[in-house]
Amino acid sequence: MENFIRQKIKQIKKGDQAAFEEVVSFYQNKVYQICYRMLGNSHEAEDIAQEAFIRAYTNIHSFDDKRKFSTWIYRIATNLSIDRIRKKKPDYFLDAEVQGTEGLNMYSQLSADQPLPEEEVETLELQSYIQKQIQSLPEKYRSIITLRYVDDLSLQEISEILDMPIGTVKTRIHRGREALRKKLRDL
């Protein structure tokens, strides 16, 4: 498969746009999944995954043939997702005072009794429940957990994709896994 993709990329570099179609259809599910896991929203995931492929196409000449294409496209998708998450950060804070009130903050606007995890499991599908738990992880753990289990990537590959020392990847995957273990324990 690696050879097939390598050959397609050679054709794309020569200007054969149609060759890109097979590359997209080969990687679309993995790339979409990374974006979905990171963003937790199918609309945004589609948007960012599409953007990732377009970026890959327009920058195909900067892709080094000796490296794995999957690493490259996952890297683009992960970085675009992280950018989107950072832009999405709310510009209001829960503990800010609500205008026109005295001493009332946004916490008072939230419903006090959230359903217990067990109840939620009953109403939500397993898929979306797990997604919700991944979503609740800090971004730095979320990206690593996503990459580790989306395509069974090795720690070495994750370190290349995220441009991060392998030691950091190890620490974060341990912490992320522990955090998820606690969240999914009662499932």
Binding site: Q17, S25, V31, R37, E46, Q131, K170, R177
Partner: protein, 206 residues
Amino acid sequence: MSCPNKYVEYMHKYLDKEITKEEEQVLKEHLMTCEDCQGHFHELKRTITLLQSTSNIQAPANFTRNVMASLPKEKKRISYQRWFKAHPIVTAAAIFFLLIFTSLSSMWNENEQLTVSKTEGIVIEGNTVIVPEGQVVQGDLLVKNGNLQIEGKVEGNVTLINGENLLASAGEVTGKIEEINQVFEWLWYHTKKTVGDLFTFTIKGF
């Protein structure tokens, strides 16, 4: 959990396939005796199974088609650039010719006023250069940006650059008559002249 941290460390190493044989042995032996760690390990493995079992998320149906439809059309400029990079010698030659062309065309546009190569025995009336009747001009005659009217005789070649008309019917020209009205013709003339001069110079040099 009262067990040393190293066991949890080994569990993660095991899950990332980074554990050594010895460490695996130590972990196995410990798990057989410690229920807490067994539970921990089981939960970790279950977490991973859950993650993997739900990781068959599919891209939307028309995803590939949408991507292909929104790809930018390859810009002409970019392909030119790539071509130039691939053919440096051709590019250098093209730039060289462009420079020559621009310098010559600027020379063409430079002097719009009437120029005559010699004034002896010639009458100039406004924009028209007249060789009067009975007058004999020795050697070549060159008129630029003006009309030429020959009533007498020119013993040599006549060149008219950017002139409106050549009225040589009444007169006589012994040499060639050349009329140049186009930039390209003028360029050709210039090139011929330069090459000719160069040859003369070389021959004289010998």
